[in-house]
Symmetry: C2
Subunit: 119 residues, 2 copies
């Protein structure tokens, strides 16, 4: 079996760096025309259209006609499954940071109590 299609779920859709760039861009600027994205990312227009097609199929973006342009808007809520999954691991690095922080504070306190002691 080959790899699952990028259009089957959000995890596959955002595995592509360019698609994440498009998402980021739409998050910063609201709805954008394809041409704007083309200019912003410096990619060929067909490439952008294809990536938008993938994002559209999984629901991460929606398109609205506007004259001869098409405005794409982010539907960020579709990213929630990714957030939910990875959030479960948040504690692993925040704990790590906490440990480092506490150790640093303890060391500082030791230094304060014993100013002449060597490391």
């Amino acid at each position: 079996m080959p790899r699952a299609a990028t259009t089957t779920d959000v995890f596959n859709a955002i595995a592509e760096p360019r698609r994440r760039q498009i998402v980021d861009l739409l998050a910063r600027h609201g709805a954008l025309a394809v041409g704007t994205i083309v200019v912003a990312l410096g990619l060929p227009q067909p490439a952008v259209s294809k990536h938008l097609g993938v994002l559209r199929e999984v629901g991460i973006v929606t398109a609205a006609k506007d004259g001869r342009q098409r405005l794409y808007e982010l539907q960020a809520s579709q990213l929630k499954p990714v957030h939910d999954w990875v959030k479960a691991y948040e504690r692993f690095w925040t704990q790590q940071l906490d440990r480092i922080k506490r150790r640093a504070e303890r060391k500082a306190k030791e230094r304060a109590n014993n100013p002449d002691e060597k490391a």
Copy 2:
């Protein structure tokens, strides 16, 4: 250009549902032998070994020899980039939930004030 390799970055590595299952399993149970994962997920052993190989290559897991077994341990901190990226979008659905909640509360208050009014 084909799709990027699953070993190029964490986003690609976790795009595979089975690999996320393995990550979840290791998160719940600490270091596990390959055979344990095979039994837990009901996958063929070579499949599990291959997925572990991908996860190992991007650093999400590490392997330690233990007799004739190999114990795989999660390195959850490697998932931080994913969390960092998607966290930026958290506000989109929490805001949404806030709005829904506020609206529900407002409606409830209205009903309390006008018990006989129709919807």
